[in-house]
Amino acid sequence: MAGGKERALRRRIRSIQSTKKITKAMELIAASRIAKAQQRVAAARPYSERITEVIRNLAAAGAGEGSPLLAERDRVETVAYVVVAGDRGLSGAYNSSVIRAAERSMLHQREQGRRTRLVTVGKKAQSYFRFRGWEIDEAYVGISDNPSYEDARIIADYVTTRFEQGEYDRVELAYTQFLSVGTQRVTIRRFVPLDASLLETGDGPTADYEFEPAPQQILDRLLPRYAEARLYAALLEGAASFFAAQQRAMKSATDNAEELIVKYSREMNRARQDAITTEIMEIVGGAEALRQAQSDRTDLLVDHVLMAADVLTNELNPLSRS
């Protein structure tokens, strides 16, 4: 029986079609989420810009010396990594590229005789590092899609507290920078101690400010906020990058599904055509055989049938015997 192959292909096509529906839906959802995530990145920018400006003004007034978050350690023995990845997959290389980059960097630190510690954001980072046997100090899950400032505050607080207590000598922040919908880049940046260049008063003389309370006191309150804002920006950019990566991955999945459907449809049509051709050939062959039999008495079977028919006619019709 032909058609077995055809049926199998038809089933295959139907399953690809339903997969395509899912990937298409995910693509559209991701696309709409990118826009929202991008807006949040943009909305968070004024705060960090202003806060940087205020820090510069404070530095110009002589504050900065002795702020715990700015203090470089003489000997860096323990480097902590904050790795910002996603909670979900189906996003191409988004999770694995940031995770791998962080892991490489940590191995590099170990080669130089430093200890590394690890704080993860996102289920994917947590499960990867746990599976590979890295010890995780703290794992934050369930916030990567839609990070709030409060989430950033909790994480920054955890890390900076450990830094101030001397448990960490330096903290690196690994996340995916969102440059545009088409471009995201994995970045590993120093988180604390905060970059001292922050205090450089670049553009000429700043106005003489009045301060209340003293500049140093304000700065000590301001720097933790600045660290939070930086971490918050990293979380937001990570979320935007995640959706961009997911949209791309789902788009190529949809395209592949389309290609497969075309390919299998062709194959299926050919199989069906083959089956039909075979059937026609059989019918034509049969009919041909029958026609030949009628016109050509040399056919043995037909000869016998005809002879038997003669005998029968004679026997059943005595009148014809003479």
């Binding site: 705060y47 404070l58 400010y209 009045e210 209340e212 006191q217 304000i218």
Partner: protein
């Protein structure tokens, strides 16, 4: 001549507009009012109500700590949490106040004290508005 006022939280710009005068309370320094032409100023804010005086009337804002910067007739208030009086959920603030008081009865705890202070400021800010309207 008016002051430009921006109220900026880490998540977004909460308020942007003009005012004739801005009154805030700094840490340890008490209340300070800014009017156009004020000298450049940077301060850390206490948990208190800030007032933006506009031609249309006073706009009250509950500011839960943060910073204020004044320069070139622009007042920028940077705050983790700040709420315009019209946005405050009075019922929620009331509940928060009761919860905090409950916890304070059981034990002295800095977090509950801060929560109580926040709730009181919210209620005070919103209460003034209710009295006006």
């Amino acid at each position: 001549m008016a002051l430009r006022v921006e109220l900026v939280s880490p998540e977004r710009i909460l308020y942007s507009g003009e005012a004739e005068m801005v009154v805030v309370r700094t840490l340890g320094g008490g209340e300070i009012a800014f009017m156009p032409g004020h000298a450049p100023f940077v301060g850390a804010l206490a948990i208190a109500t800030a007032t933006l005086r506009t031609p249309q009337g006073d706009e009250l804002v509950a500011v839960h700590g943060g910073f204020v910067e004044v320069s070139n007739d622009t007042v920028t208030i940077l705050s983790d949490v700040a709420e315009l009086a019209s946005q405050i959920d009075v019922e929620r603030a009331q509940r928060a106040k009761e919860r905090a008081e409950e916890r304070l009865r059981a034990a002295r705890d800095a977090e509950a004290e801060a929560a109580l202070r926040r709730a009181l400021i919210r209620l005070q800010t919103a209460g003034n508005l209710a009295a006006v309207s």
